[in-house]
Symmetry: C2
Subunit: 180 residues, 2 copies
């Protein structure tokens, strides 16, 4: 174990995928229900990966969404773009910690602060020239680890390059929506 | 009130922004801390919008991230890409419900199921040809409302076009990361 990560299992996973590339295909899923006003609840449990349906989760996770009053909500949960910052944080953390563990770098702390700009002209369709989504996101990483700063920067660059959520934000994801 | 949304406030917000475009600029923020292994916690509270720092939230929201055992985690929270599906769900819901309220369409239920494909070859850097992020996301919407299906489809198309998280996934977001 390093940084709380089972490095033998990580190496084993990589070798298993090299022997059987199909094991790398994962399907993640969610179900959400509107709860009135700006509120919704999203339930997450089942996923497919490593060649089978996962059976390890005994309970579902429920993630709530809402808006602050200035955006017509009731302040019971973060809003959707804030939830994206949380997802990016979680992703960059894993994408840093796993390779650090594999390279024998012991991490003491890893913190991220983020700020992202959104202009409501897009969401409210008041301008065709303003995108609805994030205009940009600024991330600051604070890392304490038993490695030189250059190594920490290399690991951070690696995390940025391999983080699934970072890639999903920086590069276009095809999303299809159908009405049942 | 319609669909739990204060339509007068919505109209007032639009008029206020038309009179003072700077009110539409929002900055959303997060702070995250690694909790060992795949675990992290992201704290969300303060944001800037409508010309000032928000003071309405009395408490922070804390969002946890982890991975399932097959991805070297401990199943205490959804993983990062699942959190993105939750964020997209929350966002499409608000982006549907608000305009529905403004157009006098009474919504009885609004549900979304999502599935997204991720191939670990990207995250594990086993191939330069496989992206780390979502290869695609499929969304199915189930809507009950007092409107013809064509109107519901129009509102859904509007939500898809104006949802900040949908736009952030479909189109590139510039993200900068600096090491403190």
């Amino acid at each position: 174990m390093a940084n709380g990560v089972n490095v033998d299992q990580l190496v084993g996973t990589i070798q298993a995928i090299q022997g059987n590339p199909g094991l790398a295909a994962f399907k993640f899923r969610s179900t959400s229900r509107w709860d009135g006003g700006a509120k919704s609840k999203t339930t997450i449990r089942a996923f497919y990966g490593a060649g089978q349906e996962d059976a390890s989760r005994k309970e579902s996770y429920v993630l709530a969404g809402d808006e602050p009053p200035v955006l017509l909500g009731t302040n019971t949960a973060p809003n959707a773009v804030e939830a994206v910052l949380a997802a990016l944080s979680s992703c960059l953390t894993v994408s840093f910690i796993y390779p650090a563990a594999a390279h024998g770098v012991k991490v003491e702390s890893f913190e991220l602060t983020m700020e992202g700009d959104v202009d409501l002209h897009g969401f409210l369709k008041l301008s065709d020239k303003v995108r609805p989504g994030f205009q940009n996101i600024r991330v600051t990483a604070r890392v304490k680890a038993d490695a030189p700063r250059a190594t920490i920067q290399q690991l951070l660059d690696h995390a940025i390059a391999t983080s699934p959520v970072m890639d999903s934000l920086r590069n276009p994801v095809p999303v299809t929506v159908s009405l049942a």
